[in-house]
Symmetry: C2
Subunit: 194 residues, 2 copies
DNA sequence: ATAGTATTTGAATATATATTCTAGAACTAA
DNA sequence: TTAGTTCTAGAATATATATTCAAATACTAT
C-alpha cells in the first residue's frame, strides 16, 4: 500500500480556497498553499500536476457544491414561493461557507481556469454551465410559460439578484439576515415584471 | 520642452483596461500592455513607476467614472422613480463602456490594488468608498426615513441588484435592453420591503 | 548652430515563483 | 527480513516577466 498519506487532495483544496478568498487567485502561490496546508511543496505536486490544475479544482469544487444545492431546488420549483427559496440558497451558502462563496462570487471562472490546464477541467466547467442552462430552461417552462425570455429572466431573478445583493458585503463581511427579505421581495417582483 | 510624446497616460490606461477585461488583471503583463498600446515597454515605465501603479489607475479610473455618474443621480433622488433611474445607471454603463464595466463588476478592488503601490492610490480608493458611503447615507435619510438599515437597503437596491442582473451576462455579452424593466421592478420591490 | 530636455527604444538584468528531482521515510505483503 | 510501493521532504533548477539602463531621437529656446 505504501507510506500513508499525511496530506489529502481535499486538504490542499481547502488551503487553496482559503488563500484564494483572502488574496485572490492571482496572488496564490504554490509555496503559500503548502504553508497553509502544513505541507512541503513537493507534496502539492504529488497530488496535482500543476498550480493551474489545483486552482481549477478550487473553482470546480466551489461551483459544483453551489450549483447542486441550487439546482436541486430549481428542479422542484412549482410556484413563486419555491422560486424565492431557490434565490435564498445564495445568501445561505455565503453564510455557511464564506471562503467558497468568495471564490465563486467575487471572481470570474477564467481567473481560476488557466489556459494550460488539462482538457478534463475544461470539460467539467462546460458541464456545469450546460447543467445550469438546462435546469433553468426546464424551470422557466413551468414557472414562466409563454415567456420567450423566461430562462434569462429566471437567471436574473434566481441567480443574479441574490448574487448582487450579497456581493455588496463580500469579500470582507457576511450578508446580514435582514437582506433575505429584501431579496425575496425583489425576486417576486422580477418574476412578475413584463 | 523636449521630444513630443507619442504615448499618453490615457492611452496606456485604455490598453491596460482592454487587456484587464479580456484576460483579467492577473494575466496582464507589462509587455502585453505595451503591445496593445503600440509602445515599447520602456515607455510604459516612463509614465508609471510600476505595473501595480498602472493597474491601480485602471481600477480607479473605472470606479471614479462609474461612481460619479451614479452619485450624481443619487444626490438628486427624491422618490422611487428617481431611485429606479439610479439603478439603471449600471446597465447603461455596461452598454456604454463594456471593458470598463468588466473591470469594475467582475473583479475585486484588491485584484487591481497590489500591496506595494504608493499610498496615493490607496487614498483615492478610500475616498471613493467614503463618497459612496455618505452619498448613500444622505439619500437613505430622504428616501427611507426611519429605516435604521436604510443605507444598507439602498446599497442593495441601487447597486447590488443591478450589478447582479448585469453580472449574468458579463464578461462575454451585454445585458439586453429587456432586463432594465426587470431591474426596475426588482428595485421598487426591494425599497418597499420591510 | 548649439545646448538643453523630455521622450522613445529595446536589449540586459533581476527577481519571484513554478517545477523538478533525488533521497529518504513509512507502510504492506510474502 | 526483504522487496515493492507510495508518499514526504525540501533543496536545486528553470522560467516567466517585471524592471533597469544606456543610447538614440525629436523637439524648443537661445
Amino acid at each position: 500500500m505504501g507510506r500513508p498519506a499525511r496530506f489529502t487532495k481535499t486538504g490542499l483544496i481547502d488551503a487553496a480556497t482559503t488563500l484564494s478568498a483572502r488574496l485572490g487567485p492571482a496572488r496564490v502561490t504554490v509555496a503559500g498553499i503548502a504553508r497553509e496546508a502544513g505541507a512541503p511543496v513537493g507534496s502539492v505536486y504529488h497530488r496535482y500536476p500543476s498550480q493551474g490544475a489545483l486552482l481549477a479544482e478550487v473553482w470546480l469544487a466551489a461551483a459544483e457544491r453551489f450549483q447542486s444545492a441550487a439546482l436541486a431546488l430549481v428542479a422542484k420549483a412549482r410556484n413563486e414561493d419555491d422560486a424565492v427559496e431557490c434565490a435564498l440558497v445564495t445568501p445561505r451558502f455565503v453564510r455557511s461557507d464564506h471562503a467558497t462563496a468568495v471564490v465563486l462570487m467575487t471572481h470570474r471562472r477564467d481567473d481560476f481556469l488557466s489556459p494550460g490546464i488539462p482538457k478534463e477541467y475544461r470539460d467539467r466547467a462546460a458541464k456545469l454551465a450546460a447543467d445550469m442552462r438546462t435546469g433553468l430552461a426546464t424551470a422557466a417552462a413551468r414557472l414562466l410559460p409563454s415567456d420567450p425570455r423566461g430562462r434569462e429572466k429566471l437567471a436574473v431573478a434566481l441567480i443574479g439578484i441574490p448574487l448582487g445583493a450579497v456581493r455588496i458585503f463580500l469579500p470582507q463581511a457576511v450578508p446580514p439576515p435582514e437582506i433575505d427579505a429584501t431579496i425575496a421581495a425583489a425576486v417576486r417582483a422580477a418574476l412578475k415584471a413584463p
